[in-house]
Structures are given as C-alpha cells and as structure tokens.
Symmetry: C2
Subunit: 136 residues, 2 copies
DNA sequence: AATTACCCTATCAATCTAATAGAGTAAACA
DNA sequence: TGTTTACTCTATTAGATTGATAGGGTAATT
C-alpha cells in the first residue's frame, strides 16, 4: 500500500508545480485544496524541503515553493524520499541494499528473482516520469 | 515492503514445485529447509490450500503438495492471495477497486495517474511469470 | 513591534505483522 | 482397533508503523 505520506506529498508537489508564478503557497491553502490534515502535511513538506525539492519562506506572504523545474523532478527521487526504497525486499534494493538474514543464497532465491524483475519494472516507470508528466 | 507471509509463501511454493515426484511434503521439512517459523508457515500453507494452489494429506506420510503444474501457476494469482492487491492504491485496483474518500476526481489526480502506470508495470511482470519461471 | 507562518517535539489510538501456544481432528498403518 | 502422525483451528501477544493531533518556539516580513 502507498502510504498517506507519499500520497499527500505527491499531491502537494503537483499542486505547487501547477502554480503559474513561483510565489510561495501557504500550507493551509494546500491542505484545504487537497483535503489533507494540515499538521501532517507540515511534516511532509518539511521533509521535502530538507531533501531539496522545496524551498520555504517565513513571515507574511510566506509558504512553500518548488525549487526545480517540474520537468527536472524525477519520480525515482520523490518516491525514495517519501515512500522509501523502491524495491520490495532489501536484497534487490539499489539504494538500500541489505542481505536477507534468512536467505542462504540470493542467486538461487525465487523471491529475489521475482522481486528483481518487479523492481526493474517500477524503476522504469519512475525514471520515465517527472512531476511535469503528472500534471499534463 | 513485501510481507514475510508472501516471502515465505513464495519460498514454500517453489520448494514444492521443485519436488521431483508429487509426494506430499511435510510442513516441518519446508520450514527447516527455508528457515521459516513452522507455525507461521502452517497458516500460510493453509491459506494457499484454501485458495486452490495446494492440496494436503493428513496422517503418516502426509503433507502439502502442489495441485497444478508450476507452468500454470501465475504470479498474479499467487501475489493477490499472499500479498493482497497488486495496485498500491485502491482507486487503480482491478480486483479490489475502491474510490478514494478524499479525492474529488480520479481523472485529474496525479497519484491516480502515476499509480496506474505502476500497477500496469507490475501486472506485466506478474502475468508473464509462473512458478516454473522462478525455479529455472 | 506585531503578525504571520514555518519549524520542532511529543504524544496517541489504531492497525498490522510476525510469531507462539495449545488444543483438536482426520487419515494412515500396524 | 488403536496409536501415531501431521494437518487444522483459535487465541494471544509483543512490537512496529501509521496517521493524526497538540502545543509551543522561532524567524522573517510588514
């Protein structure tokens, strides 16, 4: 299951990407428009800022804004920040690799074999889609 | 993340598929060979039996055995039983469709759009792989 | 200087997962 | 026929995670 964090994060990103000007948008505005718990959204936007997707401005007229061009924001990066590893098992993860404690041999492991194919299929989708593609 | 249930279930299925004869294999043998908690494996095999993948035989010399030819066992069916919906959000699920409560319009929803592509990519993998493919 | 809106910490109920325990039941075999 | 074997079922549990909420703190505009 996709977590609400990722769901909300994606919605917020596309909301910001759809803005005509680059003016900051208040959290409250996004939360209201997308039916998201404002406090929860705060923490999500914060992590998106810390990972370099968003900028923020404090004080009156402040809010969050997209740093890069939506065309430059790859879904691989977004998903890894919001949802975590793209792979369904650590033993096939590119960025979060870990050996399975119980599995004696990856080369002959059926789970490894299947999940490797699944990972590649997912990567293919995430690599070929940017934030801009989700709006059009 | 792939649940342990699915992981163990897949391992058990491939273990049974790799058997030369069609003789029943005891739970304890599979559990030992694949490093799985026996009691947990019991419940998994039970659900695989109830959903038509496995047959069982009680008493001495009993155990579980594969009902169909491994070539006929599609990963789509296995995954749906073990892991649940293939889609990451209910609003793009073929077999478990549900409208998102918070989303006003699927047609313009960015999450829907992305997850639809992800679902199709995953389906492609699961449809093109059978239990037999995981052994070879 | 006051307001606005981001920033951070802590807490919480609900849910899910993985594992375990223990008793029950059906089938095989001597 | 009776005992053994191994599947079947119910219940319980600790632990982790999720999603949400509360409340105060801080920095930057006006």
């Amino acid at each position: 299951m996709l977590s609400k964090k990722t769901k909300y994060g994606l919605k917020a990103l596309t909301y910001l990407a759809a803005q005509k000007d680059k003016q900051p948008v208040q959290i409250s505005e996004i939360a209201k428009a997308e039916n998201i718990s404002q406090k929860f959204l705060e923490s999500i936007l914060l992590s998106l800022r810390k990972s370099g997707f968003l900028g923020s401005k404090k004080g009156k007229g402040g809010g969050y804004y997209l740093i890069k061009d939506p065309k430059e924001v790859l879904m691989t990066d977004v998903m890894r920040i919001l949802e975590g590893p793209i792979a369904m098992v650590p033993c096939v993860s590119l960025n979060f690799y870990e050996k399975c404690a119980d599995c004696p041999d990856e080369a002959t492991c059926s789970v490894n074999k299947l999940m490797l194919m699944v990972r590649d299929a997912n990567l293919e989708v995430y690599r070929n889609n940017t934030l801009a593609d989700l709006i059009a």
